[in-house]
């Protein structure tokens, strides 16, 4: 019932957590539903002007890797 990140997913999830799209804290090891993860990915894709697939696909991961500002995108 929960999503445990595979390596590339883990990178994507770290990115989403770091820039405010999810409240995921790797040290606590909490479990995140696939629905939450997909919603967060879509929010990022919309923010970055990508097609909103809800998947951490190649294009999305590539965008996550591009140079950017260190401030969070979603300020609480």
């Amino acid at each position: 019932t929960g999503a445990h990140p595979a390596p590339t997913q883990s990178k994507g999830v770290d990115f989403l957590a770091r820039f405010g799209y999810i409240d995921y804290n790797p040290r606590l090891g909490n479990i995140m539903s696939q629905h939450d993860l997909s919603a967060a990915v879509m929010n990022f894709q919309r923010f970055a002007g990508l097609e909103q697939t809800g998947q951490l696909d190649h294009i999305t991961l590539e965008k996550m890797d591009s140079p950017r500002c260190g401030n969070r995108d979603v300020v609480g």
Binding site: F47, D65, P67, N71
Partner: protein, 396 residues
């Protein structure tokens, strides 16, 4: 689906400068381009916002500045380490947190985007944060989060946002060229060095190295408090003309238990109350009860400090310590913990200080430097810790 339906646009963080004429200082430079090129790029980046709002900017070199700019690599003392080349290029603090802008020295900074990462473009974006703008989801906007080497001027979205906060250029009250040298800056004095005699010998009490609290405020000035007096310290020791009365300058009577500086804020703790200052000016609505401002933190503290190891805020009392979580607005779960976690430190500390990206602890005229990596008191074969504070910190 709501987010998708919402029109793409700028975002305001929620804080802004209460004045329109701001100063900035370049505290450290990159080695990638010349100092002149760096200054030109930074000046040009501020001009982007100056041209479209009621703001004006002026560079200062030695005196206190509103916005401080520095280049640093990896962990650099604000709890938000950089990550080496590419990825995160820079970050900046919103006005309520001081407005400073940090640039990752691991990047290859360049005057133009075809030769590396354009310092001008990145700086213009970061200064948007320093002024109170968050990331925009308009991809062509300067405030979009991803670096755009083809930047060619502010987008309407950026202009709308900055004018909500600071009005339009017609709101400027007096024209001011940001390259005008500051008229009132005193020429920096040659440093007072230990070999030459310092000015007057401080009173004996102050020279025993014991103080109740010590803190370094944003512009790098360090203040030490003892009883109803306080000293201003520089790299060589005490500034002439001190000690001064805390009552006269800080409006306090009696001893300060602990002090804490973060961003533009300085908190002074006395018993169960807290006095807060912004850039040295008492903040309206204070003093307040400590428990009202820092939930879960006890009164009559020994010390409070920002740890250089992770940029978080810690409070110490007796043999226990608390870690404060600003997003939860209370001490973190699982605290207090025993102070013995900080190996090598004594109980009932007098003071603690984050100074030049290191953390120091003080008690009874001695001090300990902390090794953030090993999470214990630093080892020094030549002169082990603790060391006397009077010589090193007070210049006696």
């Amino acid at each position: 689906s709501d987010a998708a339906a919402r029109k793409k646009r700028y975002a305001l963080q929620g804080s802004k400068w209460q004045k329109k004429h701001l100063t900035y200082k370049i505290a450290s430079h990159t080695t990638d381009i010349s100092r002149r090129d760096t200054e030109n790029a930074i000046n040009k980046a501020f001009k982007v916002w100056e041209a479209e709002s009621g703001l004006t900017f002026r560079q200062v070199r030695s005196s206190k500045a509103d916005i401080e700019i520095k280049f640093a690599e990896k962990a650099h003392g604000d709890g938000d380490p950089f990550d080496g080349p590419s990825k995160t290029l820079a970050h900046a603090f919103f006005p309520q947190f001081g407005g400073d802008a940090h640039f990752d020295e691991a990047e290859k900074w360049a005057v133009s985007a075809d030769k590396g990462v354009s310092l001008f473009i990145v700086a213009a974006h970061e200064f948007g944060h320093s002024l109170g703008l968050s990331h925009s989801d308009v991809n062509q906007a300067l405030m979009a989060p991803f670096y755009n080497p083809n930047y060619d001027g502010l987008h309407d979205d950026d202009i709308r946002a900055i004018r909500i906060l600071y009005g339009s250029p017609s709101d400027k009250h007096r024209p001011q060229s940001s390259t005008t040298p500051p008229r009132t800056t005193r020429k920096p004095r040659p440093g007072i060095t230990r070999q030459t005699t310092t000015t007057k010998t401080p009173p004996v009490g102050a020279c025993n190295g014991r103080f109740d609290a010590i803190t370094m405020v944003r512009n790098g000035t360090t203040y030490a408090f003892k009883g109803d007096k306080f000293w201003k310290l520089n790299d060589q020791g005490m500034e002439p003309g001190y000690p001064k009365s805390t009552k006269k300058i800080w409006g306090l009577s009696g001893k300060v238990d602990a002090s804490l500086s973060f961003g533009a804020y300085t908190d002074l703790f006395q018993g169960d109350v807290i006095h807060r200052y912004i850039n040295g000016i008492p903040m309206h609505g204070y003093p307040k009860r400590i428990s009202e401002v820092y939930k879960g933190i006890p009164s009559k503290l020994d010390t409070a400090f920002v740890w250089s190891g992770n940029g978080k805020v810690y409070f110490v009392k007796g043999d226990k310590y608390w870690r404060y979580n600003p997003s939860l607005r209370k001490s973190d779960n699982g605290y207090p913990r025993p102070l013995s976690v900080w190996k090598g430190l004594p109980e009932r500390l007098d003071a603690a200080l984050k100074w030049k990206d290191r953390t120091y602890f003080f008690k009874n005229g001695y001090y300990w430097r902390f090794d953030d990596e090993r999470v214990e008191v630093a080892q020094s074969l030549k002169t082990p810790y603790p060391r006397r504070s009077d010589a090193w910190w007070l210049g006696c």
